[in-house]
Symmetry: C2
Subunit: 152 residues, 2 copies
């Protein structure tokens, strides 16, 4: 558990990490993006203990990132499918993928993210919503307004 003062900080990075700030969780989401839906397939892909996987999947369902859907009656079986809220984590995965490609391995890497149809590789660019300039880390100003913590 994170320290209590932390909940008083109205920080969106911190809040996002309360949901996905754990390695297995992000790898489960990676696999979901790769099309894996069934418990046994996640288990095989990740090599994670079944009880850990169970806990993480339940958490992701509770947080609304995955939906648990019945796909078979006898025996009863469910599969796990990304919700729109889960799909919105796509840029986090892509950013991790780009960093990992660049800094963590010199070999050909998997998974690769491609533009469906065209087959081109993908990249993320940061832009300013006001002047539309392309933004580099040196152009970024991070402001920590205390204001947010007191509102509503």
């Amino acid at each position: 558990m994170l320290h209590r003062t932390y909940n008083d900080q109205d920080c969106s990075v911190a809040r996002a990490l309360e949901v996905v700030g754990e390695r297995w969780t992000i790898l489960i989401l990676r696999d979901a993006f790769l099309g894996i839906r069934r418990f046994d397939d996640f288990q095989r892909s990740l090599g994670v203990a079944r009880n850990v996987l169970q806990t993480r999947l339940r958490r992701l369902v509770d947080e609304g990132l995955l939906e648990r859907r019945r796909y078979q009656e006898r025996p009863l079986r469910h599969e796990y499918v990304l919700t729109p809220r889960g799909e919105d984590l796509w840029p986090v995965l892509l950013a991790l993928m780009e960093w990992g490609d660049h800094h963590r391995t010199e070999r050909a890497t998997a998974p690769r993210a491609l533009h469906r149809g065209c087959g081109g590789t993908l990249t993320q660019r940061c832009t300013c919503t006001r002047c539309e300039a392309e933004i580099d880390v040196g152009d970024v100003e991070l402001r920590y307004d205390g204001a947010g913590t007191r509102a509503a």
Copy 2:
């Protein structure tokens, strides 16, 4: 520790998470982006146990994401500064921030990322490096090539 098969997967997401797949680590990086450099300031900001902070900072230095610099002789004191490799994690933080803003809080959030000078807010867009189209999650094809795992 992650399961062994995992190291055999040449997955850039997995490799990135080996370095930053832990909540405190990403929050330390967030603070570093906010300009925090000193142990006591990280400790105050995060409310994390000193030994945990020590371990995480050491790991980030060992992995080349932070540089440990002497800033005072008597008593001897060091500060922690982002390296270019650490700065390259900026898109991951921005993606987490955007997701957290959108999904995890209805209040005004901090930190806010702004374009220095212009003051506009920032956003990330995914584009295809071949046809330059703007990419939505539905346009993405993830391919898991086994090839990478056997190379070099």
